[in-house]
């Protein structure tokens, strides 16, 4: 992805300073430490999430086919994962990476999400409102820069101690520099951008603000060349062994350096180390001491154009320019100059080969070249910095606003701002602990963010239920219904194939995957069809329960639910044999047989299940009409058997006969039971009608009998059996 391996020249930024140079330069070469003994015959690669590239290095396969498998097996190769974007998504600049470890960078990444999201929502609200006020861009709004300033302060506080307390002590006369936590370049760069691009209140006292900044971060400007901080720090080490400080040239060069950048407190403190202050010298060096003290007083009252001073800082505050000019004239009149060099000093800071990027950034800022600022941020501070600093650069700068928001047709129609957000999101995607904050940044991209978010979500492993839930929550938040459906389907098939049928069905249900649910229902039919009467009932009953009561969702399910009700009822009827439960079961059976959604191949198993019920004595379970219906179904089934597409269910060979027998005897008893029954519909019946009709006529004779006796029934059963056989 763009932005990785930042030392390659940051070609993604339109850095006009060196036209064509970045592209022409040889790309950086990184050696992959895979540990496989050369030669390498073949390399395979695969991008996983974000900037993670898996690299498989294979040795030439042994033509004998690895016949010597065993303890002496030589590895055929190794697979390693390479993070192209730098460890943990930290800044790719070498210095910045040394400063901030992975966990710290993750803290910053997490901490900056709310501030970024808040600023985006404020921007959107202003943009919505600007339709009426007809302001061309959000940055025209008066309150915008204050929002950005608030955002900048929040982010800045994440990067380190927010209060820039004086770095130097004057309390202890023997100590010039206070030992403190090492400042980071990232924080220094952020503050620099804030000073120059955002904080409008600072505009009048910019040089003074720069002095404060230097006090905090001067030590970071270069590693090889002398900074004022290093000069002073070296001098401090020497100080213990010095008898007469004013004889050491470093004392004077340190003084002038500190004075040149306006560190008045340091200057005064150092002046007081002067030998003339020592008690045993006072008498002989009175004049000299008077002069030094006069200088110290003068330095400590140097006019400074700034609203206030932190306690302990020296100088005389002038809030407005006229006051300052007047004070400066007066002060200069007292014999000192030097402040005017301050601005020059900053501008002339020479970039050196090993700088941490701060000097380059300063040069870019002072030359008002947004491209350079952007390129330096990209090169030295990485995707996190660029993405977040973009808001500072555009806060009050029309050119930057235009440059960063212009859609580039050569780059798929996205703007530089969007590009860097995509790049940063990919960095976040590269770590299991940060991928979940990537959506905030992707959703702020107008053109391609959601496309990348969809791919990111679909790439999450579905083996872990917590990750699925997290992914689905993100889908819901960004209204990505089709993605969540896909993820549920993938999770469903995974669990289904891995023996967790219930979880599988649950996810298919969630995804409303009718095709697969129908297939599962069908598989259940087949399963049920094979062993319909045994105790496998329990196994699929739970699954059916899961398939839910939403029987409209899949045709097959409706049947299965009815079938379940029937089976339960049947069991109860067979255990309890109460008239009520028998009646209930019969009703379920008839419903099932009437329902067009009941597949034909289940008719016989259903009836076979019911044989014991049908044979239930003493009274018939089914009415004449019901029995007729079932007989009709049997008839239809025997006709269907002749068709080539008939699917046979494995039932015992006598199944059909036992069903017929049971039905016939039930019919006979029913006829006897139903004296008021009108004509018996015989027209559709073939084979059995003769018998039925005979039974019917026989029953007519016996109709008026007050009670049937068991003997009659037994003989009828025998007769039935004879006829059927």
């Amino acid at each position: 992805m763009p932005g990785m391996l930042m030392d390659s020249g940051g070609a993604i930024v339109p850095f006009s300073g060196e036209p064509g140079l970045a592209a022409a330069a040889a790309p950086p070469v990184r050696t992959i430490r895979h540990g496989v003994t050369p030669p390498i015959s073949r390399v395979y690669v695969s991008f996983s999430s974000g900037n993670l590239l898996q690299v498989a290095c294979l040795r030439p396969p042994n033509p004998e086919g690895g016949g010597d498998r065993g303890e002496e097996e030589v590895a055929g190769g190794r697979v390693v994962e390479v993070n192209l974007g730098g460890g943990g998504g930290g800044p790719a600049g070498a210095d910045a990476e040394e400063e901030i470890d992975e966990a710290e960078m993750r803290r910053i990444e997490y901490g900056s999400v709310p501030a970024f999201a808040l600023l985006q929502s404020r921007k959107n609200a202003l943009a919505d409102g600007s339709g009426m006020s007809r302001l061309p861009s959000v940055s025209e709004h008066a309150e915008w820069w204050q929002y950005v300033l608030e955002y900048s302060k929040t982010i800045g506080s994440l990067l380190g101690n927010p209060d820039s307390l004086p770095a130097f002590m004057i309390d202890d006369p023997e100590i010039i520099l206070k030992v403190r936590e090492k400042p980071t370049s990232l924080k220094a760069a952020w503050e620099l951008l804030e000073i120059f691009f955002v904080d409008k209140q600072l505009q009048t006292w910019l040089p003074e603000r720069l002095v404060d900044w230097l006090a905090d971060y001067d030590s970071l400007l270069t590693k090889t060349q002398n900074t004022i901080y290093r000069m002073l720090s070296n001098f401090q080490k020497k100080l213990i062994n010095l008898q007469v400080v004013e004889d050491d040239p470093d004392y004077w060069s340190g003084l002038s350096a500190a004075l040149s950048v306006g560190w008045l407190d340091i200057v005064v403190n150092m002046l007081r180390f002067h030998g003339s202050y020592q008690l045993d010298q006072m008498d002989s060096r009175e004049t000299e001491n008077g002069l030094v003290e006069a200088v110290a007083v003068l330095v400590s009252t140097m006019p400074r154009m700034r609203p206030d001073l932190p306690s302990g800082k020296l100088g005389q505050c002038c809030k407005t320019r006229p006051d300052f000019i007047k004070a400066l004239e007066k002060w200069r009149g007292q014999g000192f100059e030097g402040m005017h060099q301050l601005a020059q000093k900053c501008i002339q800071l020479k970039p050196s080969a090993d700088n941490s990027g701060l000097t380059g950034l300063l040069t870019g800022i002072l030359s008002e070249n947004t491209e350079v600022v952007l390129a330096e941020c990209t090169k030295n501070f990485g995707p996190w910095m660029v993405t977040h600093a973009m808001e500072l650069l555009t806060a009050d700068n029309d050119y930057a606003d235009m440059m960063l928001h212009e859609e580039r047709p050569n780059f798929g129609g996205i703007s530089i701002e969007e590009l860097h957000r995509l790049v940063y999101a990919q960095v976040l995607c590269s770590h299991a602990l940060t991928w979940q904050i990537a959506p905030t940044y992707l959703s702020s991209c107008l053109n391609q963010g959601l496309g990348l978010l969809e791919i990111l979500l679909l790439k999450q492993p579905i083996q872990d239920n917590r990750i699925i839930l997290k992914t689905l929550e993100i889908c819901r938040l960004y209204e990505l219904e089709n993605v969540s459906t896909n993820i549920m389907k993938i999770a469903g098939i995974y669990h289904w194939k891995h023996g967790r049928k219930g979880t599988g069905v649950y996810w298919f249900q969630q995804a409303n995957d009718k095709v697969r649910l129908d297939r599962i229902a069908q598989q259940l039919f087949e399963h049920i069809g094979k062993s319909v009467t045994d105790d496998s009932f329990k196994q699929w009953e739970g699954l059916l329960e899961l398939l839910g009561s939403d029987i409209g969702s899949a045709g097959g399910l409706e049947f299965l639910h009815r079938y379940r009700d029937f089976k339960r009822s049947l069991q109860m009827a067979q255990e309890g044999r109460t008239a009520e439960s028998v009646r209930q079961t019969v009703e379920f059976l008839i419903q099932l047989m009437r329902n067009p959604s009941t597949p034909q191949r289940f008719w016989l198993p259903l009836l076979h299940d019911s044989v014991r019920l049908l044979n239930c004595k003493p009274c018939p379970s089914l009415s004449v009409a019901e029995t007729t219906l079932l007989l009709n179904k049997l008839q239809e089934l025997s006709l269907a058997k002749l068709r080539p597409d008939f699917s046979n269910i494995h039932l015992p060979s006598h199944a059909l006969n036992s069903v017929r027998l049971a039905l016939a005897s039930n019919l006979a008893r029913a006829i006897l039971e139903e004296p008021s029954q009108k004509r018996f519909p015989t027209t559709e019946l073939t084979g059995l009608p003769l018998f039925c009709f005979w039974v019917y006529s026989l029953s007519d004779i016996d109709t008026n009998a007050s009670a049937r006796n068991a003997h009659t029934l037994t003989s009828m059963n025998t007769l039935t059996l004879t006829l059927l056989l």
Partner: protein, 310 residues
């Protein structure tokens, strides 16, 4: 920036394939064995899938479960899926064998007679049941039909579909013993007539005869055009293909870059998830990363050297 070790491959490993999220990988060996790795240096499963060497291993899309396709040196192609019952350890089951294909990705097989066969799954829960959905001649040039060139190798890249509405399409890099017919073509399924149509051929007349080594179709996260990378002996060509047809019905294609850098042939092309970075591997043991800058100019962004052992 240290490399993290993912897997230790056994002796004779010949090819490797990753699943959709890049967390599982399968390796095929010259002795026909397949090993599957799950974030552990040693394989979680290992079995003999074929009698002969395995040339290529591809994971099926996750919609089909955890399943792989193995292309064997004897021309067969087998599909295997991971299943388990209750709390048992997962096992791999052979679902289907397609005979005598010679190159394959997903459910398209390119046959040595130049035919392309597209299979579709009949039952989304069962990987055993496939039906031949279409069969067509990859060479569309009418003159060529009589010649019956024999396909020597082929590579196929399916379009990463973004939604149900988008038509299925794939790019096929095709090589034969008659170099004239070497080409990279895009085929698209036409729903209305239920048939596959050749959309465009990627290549200019002077490129005729170049062997197509690899094809990769970039994920599209919102560009108004598709990007396909095609590797030939001339280097890696980056193609832009317009999403909507021109007035005459044809698709606009533009070769925006030809990238050279590998010493020797390019063996594999792979896009990152945003379709912004292309990784290529070559016979020189190098991995090269390619990107376009804001002006649309493609360049070599970085090189990963795998030839040195530490």
């Amino acid at each position: 920036m240290a490399e993290r070790q993912v897997a230790e491959l056994g002796a004779g490993a010949a090819c490797v394939g990753w699943n959709h999220c890049g967390r599982r990988l399968a390796a095929g060996a010259v002795d026909g064995f397949v090993s599957v790795y799950d974030s552990q240096p040693s394989p979680s499963s290992k079995w003999q899938a074929h009698e002969h060497a395995i040339l290529n291993i591809v994971w099926l899309p996750p919609d089909y479960g955890d399943a792989i396709a193995c292309v064997c040196a004897d021309g067969t192609l087998s599909l295997w899926e991971e299943i388990s019952e209750d709390d048992q350890l997962p096992t791999w089951r052979k679902c289907k064998v397609f005979e005598s294909g010679n190159s394959h990705i997903l459910n398209v097989t390119a046959y040595s007679d130049g035919q392309v066969k597209v299979y579709e799954l009949l039952d989304s829960l069962e990987l055993d049941k496939w039906q031949l959905q279409a069969e067509f001649q990859n060479i569309t040039d009418p003159v060529s039909r009589s010649g019956k060139p024999t396909c020597t190798s082929a590579s196929i890249a399916w379009s990463p579909r973004r939604g149900e509405s988008q038509q299925a399409s794939f790019a096929i890099g095709f090589n034969s013993d008659s170099p004239n017919f070497n080409s990279c073509k895009i085929w698209e399924f036409e729903e209305a007539h239920q048939r596959w149509l050749p959309l465009v051929e990627l290549g200019s007349p002077q490129d005729k005869g170049d062997i197509v080594r690899a094809v990769a179709w970039a994920p599209n996260i919102g560009r108004p055009y598709e990007i396909i990378a095609v590797a030939t002996c001339k280097g890696i060509a980056i193609w832009h293909i317009g999403l909507s047809a021109e007035s005459d019905g044809s698709l606009s294609t533009e070769n925006v870059a030809v990238l050279s850098g590998h010493d020797g042939e390019v063996l594999q092309l792979e896009w990152d998830m945003g379709g912004m970075t292309l990784a290529s591997t070559g016979g020189d043991g190098m991995v090269k990363l390619w990107q376009a800058n804001l002006n649309g100019v493609w360049h070599e962004q970085a090189v990963l050297d795998c030839n040195v052992s530490h």
